[in-house]
């Protein structure tokens, strides 16, 4: 075993130990991420077909409207959507071409 492999193995062992120590947090975060992926995917899928307002997305996906807005604000921050035209008192949100998934 060369020195590089030895370092890699040591790190693997240490990560294993760390995963064990943080098992509870990791389980909680993983469950949360799974749910978030599902909800993000549903929102993006709906936006693939047309720009939409928060209530429209909430109606179509069954996700509560405050949570839809929370996702949209975050997706906008990370460049996956942009704010579109205003429709009455609401704004429509548009998926960007570069958005992954």
């Amino acid at each position: 075993m060369n020195r590089e492999d030895e370092i890699m193995n040591k790190k693997k062992e240490a990560m294993k130990q760390l995963r064990g120590d943080r098992k509870e947090w990791i389980t909680m975060a993983s469950t949360m991420v799974k749910e978030q992926r599902k909800e993000r995917k549903a929102i993006k899928k709906y936006l693939e077909n047309q720009p939409a307002t928060v209530p429209e997305i909430a109606d179509a996906t069954g996700i509560p409207s405050d949570k839809v807005l929370w996702y949209l604000a975050t997706l906008k921050k990370y460049g996956d959507i942009v704010e579109g035209e205003k429709d009455g008192s609401f704004f429509r949100y548009v998926l960007t071409e570069s958005a992954p998934e």
Binding site: L18, R22, Q36, T53, W70, T74, K76, Y78, F90, F91
Partner: protein, 433 residues
């Protein structure tokens, strides 16, 4: 046993908000060595999180950032962020501060603040820096103009998936980082530990934080800020642009039932400021301020209030008795009108609670400095030397000693620096004699 490393300075400043930074800069400019200890991952305190300031309507971030940079780049100032003060005690002629720097799980020497880790992290976590209205990631830079621009891993939400480590171009991620324990040995200290707001959950009559579209004033600051969560003012329930916004004054102050019998001083003015900003961003919206009495105490403040009235902001003299969830996400405000109409109800799309200011830090068990009956740091000569505490060589500035606005905070920080400087010079003379 190995002892903790010791940092020797002339002055220790506890708190890296505007009071602490001003005191640190004023001391450092007099050639004293200063260490600033901040609990958050960035300096800047509450002021850097505000939209604009009253009565000048200067952009808060534009006037705070230069102060933050001036302190961070000052050759006589050492900034220590993400630190807990474990104890601050006198030891002969010196003050000894025991500090823990929490691990960021990111090497501060290697991190270049590029945020690639943040973009690649798959975990969304509610972002308190944006009032909880949007998310950050489990690895993140606290906010866009944070100083220092160093990422932090939030271990409670981290899956250890390794994506941030792979994305980092400088191999800065270090999942095994440990807290750093050290001691600061100083001759004097300035306590500038600031304030927090009472919480939305405190008062049953106002819905205990469960009524949709009832937010606090700091959350509204984020909605009004240029880098806010929506980049505009929207209702958090459904993204609607509100047609009617109301402010409930004294929602956490002058209220013995909440244990805050004092006036928080700044709420009248920040509500007026926010109302004016809302008039600009939502020109067609009706804005109402329910108030007990308006306290426009500072230079130019009364004129600011009169300007707000002239702009069409409605001031209703009434103490709001209760809030309830109305139809379609609206909020019903129940109050007793002073014009003889009696109990009145009004609906608004969005309601902002002007919550009270409470101390940001309790010295009990950490530092033998006394708190007053309002729990803010006790000042022993509040009229003629308002920065003196009951601990020799320890001074206080800003909202740590009681609610105050930015102007008074900066003035007091200068005064605290002057007292600390006088104390240091007297010490030097004593040694020379």
């Amino acid at each position: 046993m190995e002892s903790n490393p010791v940092l020797n300075v002339d002055a220790l400043v506890v708190g890296g908000g505007i009071a602490g930074l001003q005191a640190a800069i004023d001391l450092a400019d007099q050639n004293f060595k200063v260490a600033v200890v901040e609990k958050d991952a960035s300096i800047g305190g509450k002021m850097i999180r505000l939209s604009k300031v009253f009565p000048t309507l200067d952009c808060s971030s534009c006037i705070t950032t230069p102060k933050m940079a001036a302190a961070a780049h000052h050759e006589n100032i050492t900034i220590l962020t993400y630190c807990n003060l474990n104890s601050l005690k006198r030891d002969g002629n010196h003050l000894m501060a025991s500090i823990i720097q929490k691990p960021r799980y990111v090497d501060p020497e290697k991190c270049i603040g590029c945020r690639r880790c943040e973009y690649d992290c798959p975990v969304y976590v509610s972002d308190e820096e944006q009032g909880g209205f949007s998310a950050r990631k489990a690895v993140y830079i606290p906010f866009s103009n944070a100083i220092p621009q160093i990422a932090i891993v939030d271990t409670e939400h981290c899956m250890l998936c390794g994506k941030c480590e792979k994305a980092c171009p400088t191999s800065a991620i270090d999942y095994f980082q440990k807290p750093i324990y050290f001691t600061i040995k100083a001759k004097t200290a300035v306590l500038a530990t600031g304030f927090e707001l009472t919480t939305l959950e405190d008062k049953p009559q106002y819905g205990l934080g469960k009524i949709p579209n009832v937010i606090d004033a700091l959350q509204m600051e984020r909605l009004l800020a240029p880098h806010g969560p929506y980049n505009r003012v929207l209702r958090p329930l459904d993204g609607m642009e509100p047609d009617s916004v109301a402010y409930v004054q004294c929602a956490g102050s002058r209220d013995k039932s909440m244990g805050v019998s004092y006036c928080s001083r700044v709420c009248c003015m920040y509500a007026i400021k926010q109302a004016m900003l809302l008039s600009g961003s939502l020109p067609l919206a009706d804005i109402t301020i329910y108030y007990m009495d308006i306290r426009a105490f500072g230079k130019g403040y009364e004129q600011f209030y009169q300007n707000a009235k002239a702009m069409g902001i409605e001031f209703v003299k009434a103490k709001v008795a209760a809030l309830d969830a109305g139809e379609n996400g609206s909020v019903t405000v129940r109050y007793e009108a002073q014009d003889g109409v009696g109990v009145t109800m009004a609906n608004h799309d969005l309601v902002v609670l002007s919550l009270g200011m409470i101390p940001g830090w309790n010295p009990k068990g950490v530092c033998p400095v006394s708190s007053a009956s309002d729990k803010f740091i006790k000042t022993i000569q509040p009229k003629i030397s308002p920065t003196l505490t009951d601990m020799d060589g320890v001074f206080t500035a800003g909202a740590a000693a009681g609610p105050k606005d930015i102007v008074d905070t900066i003035t007091e920080a200068g005064a605290a620096a002057m007292e600390a400087s006088k104390y240091l010079i007297e010490l030097q003379k004593g040694h020379a004699a």
